[in-house]
Symmetry: C2
């Protein structure tokens, strides 16, 4: 009996059965119409009110030591499996929110459990290195067979980090160092005494008055630099000092897209023009722009591939870097591994950041001039986490083995078609349906959004919102047509109620 199996034996009967499947079943093949988790529950189970008595007790206990005001549901991960999230009272919900879009290949995924029970993982957990100084002997292998194997086209280097906010801020730092290097005249120009002295005092020229430009309603994190670029909701930003950095307009598209083609094109043109004007004129010049392929936290706002291609041209023309924030869109959810693959850019973005479904974080880049001219400029104690990098490698293997990007594209089309039918039946309940051809990264607006999210729990669906009025779908990559059927049926119940 393998050690992982022994581990699995002590809990989670479902995971145990899955892990005990013959090795042949683990070989790469098409699972087109086959269930990825054959022993998943057949559907949600709702035993009573959520939270029930056991969850209520646990919440009261937790409230004494942890802020529970944002608590959505007290989960029991021992009993969660595949697409299903369990609680302490026997309720089992179909989860289309997936830990704010971060669980990629199912709760208690058997292959990940095997990896998490390996000696390699145990060592990574207990012997965490300072990677910049004392990397482990196989760090190159872990990067090459994992994080770098799925690097966006044209970007072959990575700087690892610990969260999405962290990844974005490190990308900003790389952009600022790059911009000052250009302004200074190259990598070999030494820092002046004035620069070194003023940097220590947080003043120019050592601490330059440069900026990162972001877009209205964008979300890029909550630390001080990333929060200065976040423009989604006041509650994220109130009372926190921020940098005087510019905000460009993000297109406000009308739906259905095919009925508003000319208007939407004009809106995107307006936004591109204003963006370029700001780049040229803003008093703290941008070193880079940052943008999400689909604005997620800000309300599931889309723009066309033409818009993004236009942005790429503007940034090139004005010697400004383009950072694509794929923290929420990346790793398969839009039916491409990276959402920006939908754009067919002539030249790749300068940096792409990731976190969430990767379960580790960082930014990809290619240009050698994005490496600082000296060591220790981009550095910290841990510089990422080999344990989480191993996990991402396992996730990538699962995605390949089960062909999950293709699955998400297909399931997404099926789900979208079902939602279109519901939208035509209940036009007031499902407004501005969006995300066609974007995998399962689908959303719509609801005039009674918070009520819908709450009622969904009562029929066994765990679902999240974004922006002010959007219901956002963020199922895992193992979400299949039979899950979509259950989801559509239950959603209709909520709408009718």
């Amino acid at each position: 009996m393998s050690s992982a199996l022994r581990v699995a034996n002590t809990l989670r009967p479902c995971a145990q059965r899955a892990i005990a499947r013959p090795a042949a079943a683990l070989a790469t093949r098409q699972y087109a119409s086959q269930a990825f988790f054959p022993d998943e529950p057949a559907g949600p189970v709702v035993k009573g009110a959520i939270p029930g008595p056991e969850s209520t007790k646990a919440i009261q206990k937790l409230d004494k030591v942890f802020d529970t005001r944002s608590l959505n549901m007290m989960a029991d991960y021992r009993r969660s499996y595949g697409n299903y999230l369990a609680d302490l009272d026997g309720n089992v919900l179909l989860d289309v929110y997936a830990q704010i879009a971060s669980i990629p290949v199912g709760y208690n995924n058997a292959a990940l459990l095997l990896g998490a029970s390996s000696p390699e993982m145990a060592s990574a957990i207990i012997n965490r290195p300072a990677l910049g100084n004392f990397p482990q002997h196989d760090w190159a292998d872990i990067l090459e067979t994992g994080i770098l194997k799925v690097a966006p086209k044209g970007l072959d280097q990575v700087f690892t980090a610990q969260s999405g906010s962290d990844a974005n801020e490190l990308a900003y730092k790389a952009a600022f160092m790059w911009k000052r290097r250009v302004q200074r005249g190259g990598p070999d120009v030494e820092f002046t005494a004035e620069e070194m002295e003023s940097a220590m005092n947080n003043t120019v020229p050592g601490a330059p008055k440069l900026s990162i430009m972001s877009f209205k309603s964008g979300f890029h994190g909550r630390l001080f630099g990333s929060l200065s670029t976040t423009r989604s909701k006041p509650i994220h930003k109130l009372d926190i000092p921020a940098f005087d950095w510019p905000q460009a307009p993000f297109p406000s598209l009308k739906y259905p897209l095919d009925q508003h083609a000319a208007e939407n094109a004009a809106e995107e043109k307006r936004c591109l023009e204003e963006t370029e004007r700001l780049i040229k004129e803003f008093h703290n010049p941008p070193a880079a722009i940052i943008i999400e392929p689909i604005q997620s936290e800000g309300g599931d706002n889309h723009a066309s591939p033409e818009f993004f291609r236009g942005l790429r041209e503007i940034t090139k023309r004005n010697d400004v870097l383009m950072i694509v924030d794929e923290v929420q869109t990346g790793v398969g959810a839009t039916g491409k591994f990276w959402a920006h693959e939908h754009w067919n850019l002539q030249s790749p973005p300068d940096m792409v950041t990731f976190s969430k479904k990767a379960q580790t974080a960082g930014y990809y880049f290619a240009r050698d001039d994005l490496k600082p001219n000296k060591p220790y400029r981009q550095f910290n104690t841990w510089m990422g986490d080999p344990a989480r990098a191993l996990l991402f490698r396992g996730i990538i293997n699962e995605i390949e083995r089960l062909n999950l990007v293709e699955n998400t594209a297909q399931t997404g089309d099926y789900l979208y078609a079902g939602l279109e039918r519901l939208a035509s039946q209940y036009p007031n309940e499902i407004q501005n349906l969006r995300g066609k051809g974007q995998g399962t990264f689908i959303a719509w607006d609801s005039p009674r959004r918070d009520e819908v999210l709450k009622s969904a729990k009562g029929v066994g669906i765990n679902i999240g919102g974004s922006g002010v009025a959007a219901v956002r779908l963020r199922p895992m990559l193992i979400f299949q047509k039979h899950h979509a059927d259950i989801f559509l049926e239950r959603l209709e119940q909520v709408i009718k109620a």
Copy 2:
């Protein structure tokens, strides 16, 4: 055979023997003069140049995908054990740097290995929750039996984070929200429309012009807010935009302390007065000050308990919070669990931040008014990491079982006495010896510091520097007198050479 033991079997013969010790040996008892890792190597092994041929190959391979300019040594953690760090060429060094002061209880610690091979850990790795929304059912237990069990006196709540920089920035955010709440007139005063609108534009009043005050040569991290308070070296700060925040003077003490008592007291008085003046007069008023008990990255700079008690009084008098950054000093290294316990404060600091040896991060606090008035103001996807919180619990258990804080106090006194002897023999080589009574958190200045660090490897010692000229000792908590003897003997070889 337990699954952990099976895991251990596949590698690390030393760890395997340790884990196979009879259970009785694991019971709590005094290990006063006994080796914590009885099967540790008897001493360093240096087989040749470092890096040797295998390490050089591995470094060349890594260099293709990772910035190796800050690489100190290519490590083989499979063969590292206790206080000893191995490489790929058979070299085994006594490690008094410990991953930049972050490995607490030994490489391949058997008790941690057991924990890391448990079903609980595997689940925490693969089912990482969005803790603020969907905490796991036993999150309260994990906090109470781990992180909160060692909470600094007077601070009974915790906000978990992912790195030291992250922890400090979250503490700053808590301070800013608190300050604005006071200015606004209490938690129930609603945000104005003007505040909400201006926050979205990064301008006052929503994004206030408040500051965090830090001290000359302090180090608090490298993200945008934390870097604005870091004042150690230009290389950390150059080219990165920074907030216009104030910097107070940190006392520059003369050694030996007992020969410069009056001068040093005058210097501390001067610094306290200037700090208070800055708090009252700086154009962007501070919501908080942040200070390290011993400035680590900045050169191992100490101040007296009286100085810190003076600071506490100044902050109380001026309605400014006091954040103590224990990222490097915390978790036992100074012979107290928290270094600020050396100060005997009348009232505890308002927040204490931690990371490194805790292997997870966050800030402790007590005052209820440091909880934001509404949910989602202090929030992110992961909000810490249950896997790393479990590891910290295991570390705390090891510290208690082996009485490691007391060990560090005793070993530190022994080591300091040995260094005093060397300093009197070689007064030009060991200058400004400091850290007496501070456990193993000891440093001195060397006129040829970088050469000493490099030569130390040749005699089997891995050691780090801080500031411009300091050699800093940061051994693990399992560093014992027999290790100190080896260290002192080898150091003398380096000095003589």
